[in-house]
Structures are given as C-alpha cells and as structure tokens.
C-alpha cells in the first residue's frame, strides 16, 4: 500500500506528470503496421520502382497536380461563399428563401456527383446553343456555342462547386446554430444590423465549429477532382491515366498519383490547424494542449 509523505521539503519537490503507457503501446503497434505495409508495397514483384521513380516528377504529372490544386482551391472558395448564403437563407424568416435553399440543397445532395459532372460536361449536347437575354424578345446579351462558353474545366468547376455548396451549407448552418442566441441579442441591443451581427459576431464564432468538418470537405474535394477525368479535365488523375494508357504501367502510375494525393491531403492539415487556433482564441478548449504548468516538472 502507498503511504502519504507529509514532510514539507519546501521548494525542493518535483512534480512528475501522469504517465501514459497506453500511448506508447498504440504508437508501437501503429509503427509496426505501417512499416510492414510499406515493406509489402516495396517488395511487391508487380510494382517496378524505377517506373514509379521516373514518373513521380514527370512534368505532366506535376502539371496535373497544379490543375488539381487550382480546381480544389477555386471550388472550395466558391462553395464556401455559396454555402454561407444557403445556410443564412435556410435560417431566414422569409419562407421563399428557406424553400429555395432547401430545394437547392436537396437537389444537389440527392443526385450522384459523377452524374452532375457529366451533366455539366456534356451540357453542349443537351443545349447546343446558350442564349442569355429576355425570352420572346430580341434582347440578347450573350449567345454562342455551349461548348465554347463552358469548356471542360469550367464545367468541372461548376459541378464540383455547386455540389460542395449543398453539403457545406449544412455544415455552416450547424455552426451558426451552435452560437448562443444571447450573442445575437447582445449585438442587436448595441444597435448592430443583421448583416453586421452575422459578419462580426455570429460567423466568427461559428467558424470554430465549421472548420474541422470543412477540413474534411477540403480533402474530399481534392480527391473528387479526380472524377473530372470523365470530362477530360487534365488534372492529376487524368494525367496519370493518360500516361499509363500509353505505357501500360497502370499500377506504377496509380502509386504515383496516390503518393501525390496523400502528400497534398497531408499538407492541408497545417493550414487547418492554424485556422483552428485563430478562431479558437478566447475559447477554453477540451482536448487541446495542456495549460501551462504551474510548477516545476521533472522526472523521478
């Protein structure tokens, strides 16, 4: 049995933090599994490492990666703005706005993304001519061949952005709902307008709740850009499969593109953590780093 020593050693005592042996055990198991997986891939006879190495930095692959990054960032940017508008509309007191937002969200969540991409990509077949003007009059602002006005890249960006907006809208709405109603009252009582209250008080607090799932969405978007292969947008996966259909090194090029997708999604974690810190200011967090220790810490 442990006994308690009440002797007063003054400032000479040392506090030992709680040990976490289970962390080391889990860490050990994970390391072993990871190493054996890497070894399995490395030693597989069907994968020729020279080919992987040769194409890893192929200009076409790097170019494709740039397109992937560009499309991902652009689509997430557009989707976030749209999602915020949709979330605000869905929470609006105006029933028309609520229905519009709900309809949009239901429609784009209810149909497969691949189908939406193909739809926008082949819009030219359904509507060969696009005309922007007042119907049944001679007023025309813009007209032309659909395939000229909406090239594949634009079609891909539209498809991914609209679909993403529908999903993110619910994330943003959840974030807004998580903000205490007293915050809105306090803002109103100071004479702030609805818009100011949303921008300065509600959204910054909602961000705390929104960012972690949006990080997920970002990663999902990065990978979903590979679907644009079906409408021949030259992103990373398209670049890899174009090369492999010529040299028949399918597996190697899958490894190449897989490596780069993994690298990109890993790097995305850093800005996410920075954002979480920024919007977490002023909030006491659970599961974050420990508070500064009040006294000397040592080992014994």
């Amino acid at each position: 049995m442990a006994t308690t020593d009440h002797t007063d050693y003054g400032d000479d005592v040392v506090a030992v933090p709680l040990r976490h042996p289970s962390r080391w055990i889990f860490g050990g198991i994970a390391t072993v599994l990871l190493l054996s997986f890497i070894w399995a891939v490395y030693s597989a006879k069907s994968i020729q490492h020279e080919i992987v190495a040769k194409f890893l930095f192929d200009p076409r692959i790097l170019q494709g990666m740039l397109v992937t990054i560009f499309v991902t960032v652009l689509c997430m940017f557009i989707a976030t703005i749209l999602a915020t508008l949709l979330a605000i509309m869905k929470l609006s007191e105006n029933p028309l706005q609520r229905w519009l937002a709900t309809g949009f969200i239901e429609f784009f969540r209810g149909t497969p993304l691949l189908l939406q991409i193909v739809f926008w990509g082949y819009l030219g077949i359904i509507f060969p001519q696009l005309v922007l003007g007042v119907p049944y009059t001679d007023i025309v602002w813009l007209s032309g061949d659909t395939s000229d006005l909406i090239p594949a890249l634009l079609a891909g960006v539209i498809a991914l952005s609209l679909n993403e907006a529908a999903y993110s809208a619910e994330i943003v709405r959840a974030g807004i709902l998580a903000v205490d109603s007293g915050q809105v009252e306090a803002a109103k009582s100071l004479g702030m307008s609805g818009g100011q209250t949303m921008r300065r008080i509600v959204l910054p607090q909602a961000m705390r709740v929104i960012i972690p799932p949006m990080g997920n969405e970002f990663i999902g978007m990065l990978k979903n850009t590979s679907l644009l292969q079906v409408i021949a947008v030259a992103e990373l996966y398209t670049a890899a499969s174009t090369i492999s259909s010529a040299n028949l090194a399918q597996i190697e090029l899958l490894v190449v593109s897989g490596f780069w997708y993994l690298a990109m999604t890993t790097v995305l974690g850093f800005p996410q953590r920075a954002l979480e810190r920024k919007f977490g200011r002023g909030f006491a967090t659970v599961g974050g780093r420990a508070a500064p220790r009040a006294f000397k810490v040592g080992r014994r």
Binding site: S189, L190, S193, Q196, G282
Partner: protein, 254 residues
C-alpha cells in the same frame, strides 16, 4: 429632470395564447432609477426586451426619449419600422444581461469598442481611447486584452456594462445583472451601477437585490402575472406594501 425618458402605455405581449404582459403602464423620468421586482415568470425580462424592441409588442405604445419604439404612426395605423431604423433606435438604449453575453472571440477592449466603430462610425483610435476610459470606469483598466473566458463573472459583467455604455446610451436596461454571480462578486457590479445612477444615468433594473433597490431606486414596481401590482417609492413598496401579493413575495425573498 422632468423630461420623460420612458413612457410605456398599456403594453401587451403574448406568446401564442399566453398573455405575458397584460397592459403595463409606467413612466421613467430622465435621471431616474426604476427597479422592477416580481416572481419568476412574471414578465420582467419580457418587458425589458419590449422596451428596446428585441420583442415586438401586441398592444400599447412604448416611447423612449419621445420616440415611438419600433413603429411609425400615421393616422390610426402603426407601421412596423425597417430593421435598420429599429437598430438606430436601439443605439440610445444600453442593455445588460443576466448571463453577460460578452462576445467570447473578442478581448474585453474589443468587446467595448466593437459597436462604436462598427455602428457609431467612431475612428478606431478614438474608440480605443473611449474603451480604455470606460474599462477604467468599471475598475478594469488592466484587463483590456483579456478574453471573457479569462475573467471572473463579476469582471465579465462589468465589461458588459462598459460595452453598453460605449454607445453613449440615454437609457440603461439591466436584467438581473447580478443573479448569475457568486455572492462575493455582486458588490463590485452593484458599485458600478450605483456610480452610474449617481452620475445621472436613467436606469431600469430588474433585480432581486432589495438592498440596492432601497438605496438607489427612485421608484420600485412589483409585477406579477404580467400586471403591475404595486408601484411607488422604495419605502412604500418594500417597507409598507399595500397589496397581499406584494407582501407574500417580499416575505419569500427577504
């Protein structure tokens, strides 16, 4: 003195079929302090929230500083105002809440200067100066860059008072400002409020602090079930209540 800051005329408010305010009429003169007491659920908070039009009313009129709150009258019709105009009216009325409702993502100073800059159009340097003065006034000169989560309840409530004062309101509403506080922190907040009253601020205070009401209030009103039961000087209402309901309530809280 003598100028009516608040003139509420038979104010009615219902939630569905539940009539929470059943014709409240009272006036507060410029520089006066009115304390509202009454049992839980009697409609005290609702009445305060109607005064700055956080809630719309179903009957009666509310004039604050000679302006009809929330509506524009033309002939016999009251038109509800646009949100922008209501927001403008609210600038003249400060409100302090039971649960403080400070903006947690902003420091104490940022909380105080947010509205002057964003609503009042004061330039940031000037606003900062004003903010520091107000924080000093509530005894928190050194806490400007603390976040609300780093402040005690009493300190948070004093920041909330400074925040409301920053819009230079003509009227201050307090909804049980000390009832979420530990007993030893109540005094600091009440002291700030007493200072305000001395400086001539017009105040309406919902409170259970009878000592404060006795010392500071010019008028006390007892509300029960959405009606004014008794109204008068603190002495009249707190020491010599006439109505049975007032007596019963005071017996319970004292």
């Amino acid at each position: 003195m003598g100028h009516l800051m608040v003139d509420a005329r038979s104010v009615r408010k219902s939630y569905g079929s539940n009539e929470v305010l059943q014709g409240i009429s009272l006036t507060v003169e410029s520089g006066e302090v009115l304390c509202i007491i009454g049992p839980s659920g009697s409609g005290k908070s609702t009445f305060l929230r109607c005064l700055n039009h956080l809630e719309s009313i179903n009957g009666g009129r509310i004039y604050v500083n000679d302006e009809l709150m929330g509506y524009r009258q033309s002939g016999k019709v009251l038109h509800e105002m646009k949100p922008k105009d209501i927001a403008k009216q609210r600038q003249a009325i400060g409100m302090v809440f039971q649960r403080f409702n400070l903006f947690p993502h902003m420091t104490a100073l940022q909380n105080v200067i947010e509205a002057p800059i964003g609503v009042g159009g004061v330039n940031p340097e000037e606003a900062k100066q004003l903010g520091l003065e107000l924080l000093a006034q509530v005894g928190l000169a050194d806490k400007g860059d603390h976040y609300p989560s780093q402040l005690s309840g009493g300190q948070q409530q004093r920041v909330a008072i400074a925040r409301a004062l920053a819009m230079k309101p003509k009227l201050m509403l307090f909804d049980e400002p000390t009832s979420a506080l530990d007993p030893e922190l109540v005094g600091d907040v009440l002291d700030v409020m007493k200072g305000l009253a001395k400086a001539g601020m017009t105040m309406i205070v919902v409170t259970h602090e009878m000592g404060f009401a006795r010392e500071v209030a010019d008028k006390v009103v007892f509300i029960d079930k959405g009606q004014i039961v008794e109204m008068g000087s603190p002495k009249q209402v707190l020491d010599k209540p006439q109505e049975a309901r007032t007596k019963a309530f005071l017996n319970k809280v004292l």
